[in-house]
């Protein structure tokens, strides 16, 4: 009768993890009110908040999953998920995901011992901003995105958009060498690198077009494994980003709720009208589904479970849908005020798109999910 639901007695953050999470929230409430994101939004010269970035590094968060031997805290994926949720809630305008979910996870997944030894301690110390350069053209991750070429250890070609590419020190780059697609590490502070800042939907997060003209490039992981490794990094990033999305979606719901309680129309709070009540209930429902899927992803991430690809795709699809819905309907709940520059709704609306696209759009992840399910069924 029905599917076995598995032994589930402990499907929640542990007490320690909850403590870490609540400390992270307190820290960010103090250091990262939305005025910090707004500061980046309103200043075209700024692509992230450097003070906040330093403070986050000082917290040790950049090294959460970096093993102690490489200068990190050596904690698990679930702890990083807890921090990610709070960063998402705070709309933190910092290159955290690029540095930690993409670069650190990329090094942990594919890096040689030497590469880890060379880079991880610097990253943990806050000395390196990372970025992930897979995209070259509209469309999802595929061979078509590997137009950049590596020859004799030097890379040429163009990557766009590269989130945090305008400020990154070290990029993980998808490129082709001797006919094979691989990942490469490229030092963006060295020669042969041109950056053009791109105007994006979410100016609180920077992005650039990177043009390489013979920049030194070092392979990360096996030759010809580029797409598989990029996907492995994306799977891990998808779960961590799902927590950011859940955090953002929760905050958008909270804002809508608070506004609906204090804004009056026709003599009573707009939150007493079913159109608003049921809208917010729908946001809540999607958020809870997304949170549950994200939890499963956290488990898969922390345990390196075989289900990781399925769990990652489900977490990403669910969280992308939830944050987009929460952001647009929270804005709608705010009415005309929500559409103004000065009210924060559009920051969440923009960030929902940024997070929903940075690791690839939901459509491609749905296809990955179903392919994985077919594979599982066939096995």
């Amino acid at each position: 009768m029905g599917e076995r639901e598995g032994p589930v007695m402990d499907f929640d953050f542990s007490d320690d993890q909850k403590f870490l999470k609540s400390e992270a929230r307190k820290f960010l409430e103090a250091r990262c009110p939305t005025s910090v994101a707004r500061g980046v939004l309103d200043d075209p010269a700024k692509s992230y908040d450097a003070d906040l970035w330093k403070a986050i590094a000082a917290q040790g968060w950049l090294g959460t999953t970096i093993p102690e031997q490489f200068g990190g805290l050596g904690l698990g994926g679930v702890e990083l998920c807890a921090i990610a949720e709070e960063l998402g809630r705070a709309l933190a305008p910092v290159p955290f995901s690029s540095t930690v979910y993409f670069l650190v996870e990329g090094l942990l997944v594919a890096g040689s011992h030497e590469q880890k030894q060379r880079w991880l301690p610097k990253i943990a110390a806050g000395g390196i901003i990372g970025c992930f350069a897979s995209s070259e053209r509209p469309g999802p991750l595929s061979e078509a995105q590997a137009g950049a070429r590596v020859e004799g250890g030097r890379i040429s070609g163009t990557k766009a958009p590269v989130t945090d590419g305008d400020v990154g020190d070290l990029a993980v780059v998808l490129a082709r060498e001797a006919g094979q697609i691989s990942l490469f590490l490229v030092d963006l502070t060295g020669e042969g690198v041109r950056r053009e800042t791109l105007q994006t939907l979410d100016p609180t997060r920077g992005a650039a077009r990177l043009t390489f003209d013979g920049a030194p490039a070092e392979r990360l992981g096996g030759a010809g494994e580029g797409l598989a490794l990029a996907q492995a990094v994306l799977d891990r990033a998808a779960i961590l980003l799902a927590f950011e999305q859940v955090g953002g979606a929760d905050r958008a719901l909270q804002m809508a709720r608070d506004y609906a309680l204090q804004r009056f129309a026709f003599g009573r709070p707009i939150g007493s009208y079913q159109a608003i009540k049921h809208k917010l209930a729908d946001i809540y429902i999607k958020n809870e589904l997304a949170r549950s899927n994200a939890y499963y992803g956290a488990w898969a991430l922390a345990t390196e479970a075989a289900e990781l690809p399925v769990a990652a795709a489900a977490a990403r699809v669910s969280a992308t849908e939830a944050f987009w819905f929460a952001a647009k309907e929270s804005l709608q709940t705010h009415g005309g005020m929500g559409y103004t520059w000065d009210v924060d709704c559009h920051l969440f609306y923009r960030r929902a798109q940024q997070l929903g696209l940075v690791a690839g759009g939901a459509k491609a992840w749905k296809e990955r999910l179903v392919s994985q399910l077919e594979r599982r069924n066939a096995a």
């Binding site: 589930v8 007695m9 007493s272 009540k277 209930a281 999910l369």
Partner: protein
Amino acid sequence: MDFNDTPEEAEYRARARAWLQQNAPKATPHDTETPAGMASAKAWQRKKAEAGYAAITWPKEWGGGGGPPWQSVIFAQEEADFDTPGNPFLIGLGMCVPTVMTAGNDADKARFVRPAVLGEEIWCQLFSEPGGGSDVAAARTRAVRDGDDWVINGQKVWTSGAHYSDFGLLLARTDPDAPKHKGLTMFWLDMKSPGIDVRPIHQMSGGSNFNEVYFNDVGVKDSQRVGALNDGWRVSLVTLMNERLAVGGLGGPSWRAVMRLAQDVATLAGPAAKDAGLREKIADWYVQAEGLKYTRYRTQTALSRGQTPGPESSIGKVVSASLMQDMANTAMELEDQYGIISDPKDGPLAGVFQAALLSAPGMRIAGGTDEIMRNIIAERVLGLPQDVRLDKDVPFKDVPTGR
């Protein structure tokens, strides 16, 4: 987050599993509408009770297992793997008897709890009325004083299992001059009392799981009162609160069934299994169904830690009922003209989608409509204001009814 048991949990699980392997009936009838199905259900309940696996968290002296909450979660997980009989005890053990335990007198507790746990007595819940629907406090069924005792007249509706129940928990109006929520009283009833007439409701799906129950001068002793006079609304909240946790999955076809169908059907562009539109929908359904499953894990985690589950447990029905309706409609679109055939022997996958299409509307309504569930989430979870009420603080008899 850990899917592994502690040693203590693992030991309990192993013991439960071994017991189930030894004792769970093989090839049992499930339909409790048949005598064989009901007999098998009662036998299984007794067997579990005798082994301490029925009402696991209730005190032993009342027939329960006297165990901690996590045992209850583990046993339910393990039992789900076996093909056990139907369960006509859910309403009694999940709602009515807990109400008696909370609000009833000692004699009633002593009288009713153990037979219910043993599966000897079945209960039904007599709350909803024809004019009321979701508005339980609008009950018009009258209980009028007759000396020290009471006489009941009126009608209830949507009563599940009334036709095979031994006892019923009745919400009746004892003071029509008091405001709506303040003139109700709770009673228990012997369903064999003279003057009770149970009539099945014919549903659009063809089934008859629910009943109308008519009361024609039914005598009830004042000792059958559950809780204080005119305090019935507060008592009913105990029952209804338990209801939310008792509602489980809805059954019916899953995204897997659509995947199976897609193996055998073509679209205009090729095999349906390769159709990107269908694949996106399967992904959406998967994410919802899995999201609900993991949400249940969170609820179970809370229960097994002895905590009250968070509000997330209230989202299940409102998501899954519409999911089922949508999935059934999509499957029928794939089948195209053939989709209209509802005969299990003629249609693909034995007509599982056609059956789901006909039962889904009931799922969206029974136990609280989609609209009521959203209201509950908005009010109890998000703390938004109640709807404007025109029925409070006026005598019940003056509340507008449109008639």
